[in-house]
């Protein structure tokens, strides 16, 4: 009895968070800030995808930005050329990107380890950008694709940041829930075992190749969703959005938030999209502050914000949700 009530409290807590998130457009009137939040959602989904690949499975990669680009173009072209409605274009983009990710993963996961793999993913980012730039008959090249239609649902056109926010929020919730389910499943445990010790995982019966391919493909699917949302939110895409630097930004979001934690990408993405807005007055020093923050984080909080606050959070969870006593965690 006691336990059920605690479980309910946890659900109530998360529902409250969702309600608060849903009320934000009522409070924030500025279109500009709502745009920032929509972009934060795009980054959040990109980071959540990377988290499955980097945080759960422990592989390094920069492909997220390429998947973002592929997703954007797939969704935009699906709507413009194939006359798909948004609600078909988004799953189409997600599946198409997932397929590309899968095809890329098969040879790379078979052959490559550690930093050879990272370097390959950098190459993939460049190749994707070059294709988007040079396949002019399809992508209109460096000029970019203008006039991407807005989503329409039940007669409502989601043409303002305030309206679009609900679509973004919906996918953030769905994909975060998916991350949570994956992490706590048998498959997620196998992925984490690969992160901790790939050889040991393989030798005690985990098909490491299969789960690395799966993790990579899932991160591509997340990238595809993020790309689709971005394309239809901004309404204009061009190849120079999907550059290597953005991959580093997404990587920093995961690392600063806490890689391997379901909430890590949420904290990281919100922090790294909202805080820079407050630092606008010192625009020319932004990169400096940013770089310094990453260094400080890397030295003092190698497991990100959520990792550093693990003990405190465990105590809070125990107090409010009645979870089992905090695991004894050795200091970093």
């Amino acid at each position: 009895m006691q336990r059920t009530s605690f479980v309910n409290r946890k659900i109530v807590f998360y529902l409250m968070l969702i309600v608060i998130a849903a009320l934000i457009p009522q409070v924030v009137k500025s279109r500009y800030y709502m745009s920032v939040l929509n972009l934060a959602a795009v980054y959040l989904i990109l980071a959540a995808g990377l988290n499955i690949y980097l945080g759960y499975t422990g592989m390094m990669g920069f492909t997220q930005v390429a998947f973002w680009g592929i997703g954007s173009y797939a969704s935009a072209l699906g709507m413009i050329n194939l006359k798909m409605p948004f609600w078909t274009a988004l799953p189409f983009a997600a599946l198409f990107t997932g397929l590309i990710g899968f095809l890329l993963a098969i040879p790379s996961m078979r052959r490559l380890k550690r930093f050879y793999l990272s370097v390959t993913t950098i190459g993939f980012v460049e190749i994707t950008r070059l294709i988007l730039e040079n396949w002019e008959s399809l992508t209109k090249g460096a000029d970019g694709l203008p006039g991407i239609p807005r989503p329409v649902l039940w007669g409502i056109r989601f043409n303002t940041p305030h309206k679009f926010y609900y679509i973004s929020l919906f996918f953030v919730i769905v994909l975060t829930a998916l991350s949570y389910i994956i992490k706590n499943s048998r498959v997620g445990l196998a992925m984490q075992a690969i992160r901790e010790d790939e050889l040991a995982a393989e030798v005690i019966g985990v098909n490491t190749f299969r789960y690395k391919v799966l993790a990579f493909t899932l991160s591509a699917v997340y990238g595809g969703v993020a790309g689709s949302l971005y394309a239809h939110f901004v309404g204009y895409i061009s190849p120079n959005v999907y550059v290597f630097q953005e991959a580093v930004t997404v990587l920093c979001m995961v690392l600063i938030g806490g890689s391997g934690y379901v909430g890590g990408p949420i904290i990281g993405a919100l922090l790294l999209t909202i805080v820079p807005e407050w630092l606008r007055f010192m625009n020319e020093y932004k990169a400096l502050v940013y770089g310094a923050a990453v260094v400080v984080m890397a030295v003092y909080m190698p497991r990100g914000i959520l990792g550093a606050t693990e003990t405190i959070r465990a105590r809070i969870r125990q107090r409010f949700f009645g979870e089992k006593k905090a695991s004894v965690y050795p200091g970093q």
Partner: protein
């Protein structure tokens, strides 16, 4: 009679070094087999060849009469050969229960699609996995809260945890690579008890061990390797009086640890 585990002429070279040289090695069902030899004699390499970590350059490995030479390690684990490592390879940031749960991976089936669309069956299986993990922890006598994060375990308990994780794969054969290294006498006793218990549960044990009292005390038969070749095989008593074995351990003056082992061997 069919052996549960057999190698026929397996050879593994690393560059110019022949780490394992045409070794024929047979293990009968239900025995505890000791595998000894001076440092660098190829014991761990042989274990790696059996568990699929290395593929032999020549020769084949058979499990229950079936060749397993070129199977991926996870397939070999699935067939029923589990192992531990010389230097612990645990999942340090996972809890001790989760470590053992990973061992159950090859005996469970839930895919992501189950977790998403048939949550009830996935949940039932997860609960069974958790219970099984607790049973394995209990079997090796590791009494810690299951949520305990592995990185905090002392050395002796890490070795036990690795054995528990290997047992969770429900093996027919378990390969133990120096399980008693770095343990104090009471911990050694504990691990010997656990190994006997494993054998009594019907699991065949192959154990590499430098500690002579331990290996001579529990093995039914002992195989000795030197420079990658099998130089002797027999009961612990026969091995202790085998002149080739004594020479292998005493013959090299620069092999300090080896001569210690031989001294221990004669004492025991």
């Amino acid at each position: 009679m069919e052996y549960i585990l057999e190698t026929k002429g397996v050879t593994k070279r690393f560059g110019g070094l022949v780490a394992v040289d045409a070794v024929d090695f047979q293990v009968s069902r239900g025995e505890i087999r000791g595998l000894i030899g001076p440092n660098g004699s190829g014991k761990s390499t042989l274990l790696n060849l059996i568990s699929g970590v290395y593929v032999p350059d020549e020769g084949d490995v058979y499990f229950n009469g079936e060749p397993i030479t070129r199977l991926a390690p996870h397939r070999i684990a699935e067939l029923g050969i589990a192992r531990t490592f010389q230097n612990n390879r645990l999942f340090l940031n996972l809890s001790i229960q989760e470590n053992v749960m990973v061992g159950q991976h090859c005996r469970t089936k839930s895919e992501l699609s189950h977790a998403l669309f048939r949550p009830r069956s996935a949940k039932t299986e997860m609960l069974q996995t958790k219970e099984k993990a607790l049973a394995c922890l209990d079997f090796v006598g590791l009494n810690r809260p299951p949520e305990f994060i592995t990185a905090g375990l002392p050395h002796g308990e890490r070795r036990l945890l690795e054995i528990a994780r290997a047992l969770a794969t429900e093996p027919q054969v378990i390969l133990l690579d120096e399980p008693a290294t770095g343990m104090n006498p009471s911990e050694k006793e504990r691990i010997v008890d656990v190994i006997r218990k494993i054998r009594d549960a019907g699991i065949t044990v192959v154990i590499i061990e430098h500690n002579m009292p331990v290996v001579m005390g529990i093995s039914d038969r002992v195989t000795v390797l030197n420079f990658g070749r099998k130089i002797a095989e027999g009961t612990p008593k026969e091995i202790q009086h085998n002149p080739d074995v004594i020479e292998a351990y005493l013959g090299e003056d620069d092999e300090e640890e080896g001569s210690d082992d031989a001294a221990q061997a004669r004492e025991s």
